[in-house]
């Protein structure tokens, strides 16, 4: 190869390298923008958004006692204890900002909490510090790191059978959720949440899982538990594989033909 041609080629390579690096750097701020930024303190926008859209149910001071709360069951969450049901953090831990944002954006199926995707991203983010300001728990404690979601297991028949065994024998989930998963077990009627309100164990046949209906999200509920409710975490009790099997088993209880009518 002639030296001139070689030089030309090196020039082309370097130009390509410089261009790709430039593209990478120009992409970086875009990615950073995609990650949401939660205001560190309560803002006017946050206060206004909360007052207009959240306080009718959750109350002006976040105690779950808004004017519309009386007619609701399950009751709107009382934020004063810092107990959030749907999290990626271990049992009892405070939620991460991402967890609160997820619940605001996607809502809670089977309840009166609608997905607030009608609000702008900025509005939804601005509400997070307002919710946290209602509980002194956020001043004393910090959220734990998120739990690890183990390697997903395939939903084989053997795995689902193991899940059934856990549901019926090992953990006796049926005591609250019922043998067919309809939320009508013998202990169902006496369940109440941390705030003293009656709470109905989840009816799996509806398929509208409150924290999200993907296997990963159902798996997370067994791992993290639902703070403020009788639903415990089974992170210490079950192995990773067992939790996946239980996930597939409870998902196998969904009755699509019944769900249509609900």
């Amino acid at each position: 190869m002639k030296p001139k041609v070689l030089l030309d080629k090196i020039g082309l390579w370097s130009a390509t390298a410089v261009a790709s690096i430039a593209i990478m750097f120009s992409m970086a701020p875009m990615n950073a923008k995609a990650e949401f930024k939660v205001p560190t303190e309560v803002t006017e926008l946050g206060k206004d958004t909360y007052k207009k859209y959240c306080s009718p149910c959750h109350g002006e001071e976040g105690k779950g006692d808004g004017p519309l709360a009386r007619s609701m069951l399950p009751k709107p969450r009382d934020f004063s204890r810092g107990a959030y049901k749907f999290r990626t953090t271990p049992s009892g831990s405070l939620p991460r900002d991402e967890d609160i944002y997820r619940t605001i954006s996607f809502g809670v199926p089977n309840s009166t909490m609608i997905p607030w995707d009608v609000l702008t991203e900025e509005q939804r983010l601005s509400v997070i510090p307002v919710l946290k300001s209602f509980s002194e728990a956020f001043e004393v404690r910090k959220p734990d790191p998120p739990v690890e979601v183990g390697l997903m297991v395939r939903p084989t028949e053997k795995c689902i059978a193991e899940g059934k065994k856990i549901y019926e024998e090992k953990l006796e989930c049926w005591k609250c959720h019922g043998i067919e998963g309809r939320g009508d077990g013998p202990s169902a009627a006496e369940q109440e949440d941390d705030f003293g309100f009656p709470i109905k164990p989840f009816d799996f046949t509806t398929g509208k899982f409150k924290g999200g209906s993907t296997p990963q999200e159902v798996y997370l509920r067994f791992t993290t538990g639902l703070n403020g409710t009788p639903m415990p975490s089974f992170a210490k009790e079950l192995t990773d594989e067992e939790r996946w099997c239980l996930t597939y088993y409870v998902m196998s209880l969904i009755k699509p033909e019944e769900t249509k009518n609900k």
């Binding site: 006496e190 975490s233 009790e237």
Partner: protein, 251 residues
């Protein structure tokens, strides 16, 4: 004054303000931490006493049974109010000194206190501990249980447990924490966390004892899950044992 001197003054002033601010913040932090100072108690006194209820206990209007829907003959007494028929002494009342700022060393037990879930109840029913203590919660039944705590400062937890499982949890802040099993409604216990080592829980006749208190006048406080709080000022004399009595009554 030249421009350089003005700049120098401003610089020194800002450094001074920063230092003062830092002192203020650190003293605030220290004052929060230094609520209790450990000293060697040489001529400490002791306080012994009794907690009781004088009036007719039926008048309190409490349901003293676990399973209220059963007939009277089949009812099992609950643990929420246990009293002695000999002297009306009340069991499971915590007694503590509220406003003590210095005293004996805080000793965190290396052998963890145990709460055992047996026959669908928690034993013991009230566990007083010092901040920083770890409690082991055991599962002695063959069936399924869960351990559910409700607390604000100490991280709450709700864990499912099965036979022979042991769960260890540390409690770092003074707080009264209710521990329960959602599968057995009448099964619950209390963990009472204190930030000084002067506390006790009454025995089945309502007696308690708190030792090695530096001489002085203190506010003693008792707490019972149903009957609430009572307070009393007590003067502790050097190397003497003072006897006191707390009486819950309807008035």
């Amino acid at each position: 004054m030249s421009e350089f001197q003005v700049m120098r003054h401003i610089f020194f002033l800002s450094v001074l303000c920063g230092f003062l601010g830092w002192c203020g913040i650190s003293s605030k932090i220290l004052s929060a931490e230094q609520q209790y100072t450990e000293i060697e108690v040489i001529d400490g006194g002791n306080v012994i006493g009794n907690v009781k209820y004088t009036d007719d206990l039926a008048a309190v209007g409490l349901n003293l049974y676990r399973d209220w829907e059963l007939s009277d003959t089949s009812k099992i007494p609950s643990e929420k109010l246990i009293f002695s028929k000999i002297n009306n002494g009340i069991k499971n009342v915590t007694v503590s000194i509220k406003d003590i700022t210095e005293g004996k060393k805080k000793v965190i037990p290396t052998i963890h206190p145990i709460i055992d879930q047996q026959n669908n109840i928690f034993i013991p029913h009230v566990v007083p501990i010092l901040t920083g203590t770890t409690i082991d919660i055991l599962h002695g039944d063959e069936g399924m249980h869960n351990i559910h705590t409700r607390s604000m400062k100490n991280q709450p937890f709700n864990l499912g447990t099965t036979y022979k499982q042991r769960i260890s949890k540390k409690f770092d802040y003074p707080e009264i924490i209710r521990l329960s099993c959602d599968l057995h409604k009448y099964a619950y216990a209390w963990i009472v966390v204190f930030d000084n080592p002067y506390f006790d829980v009454t025995d089945r006749n309502g007696y308690f004892e708190i030792c090695d208190i530096p001489p002085g006048t203190y506010k003693f406080q008792v707490w019972h899950e149903e009957l609430g709080n009572l307070e009393k000022e007590v003067t502790v004399h050097p190397k003497e044992t003072t006897s006191i009595e707390f009486v819950y009554s309807q008035n």
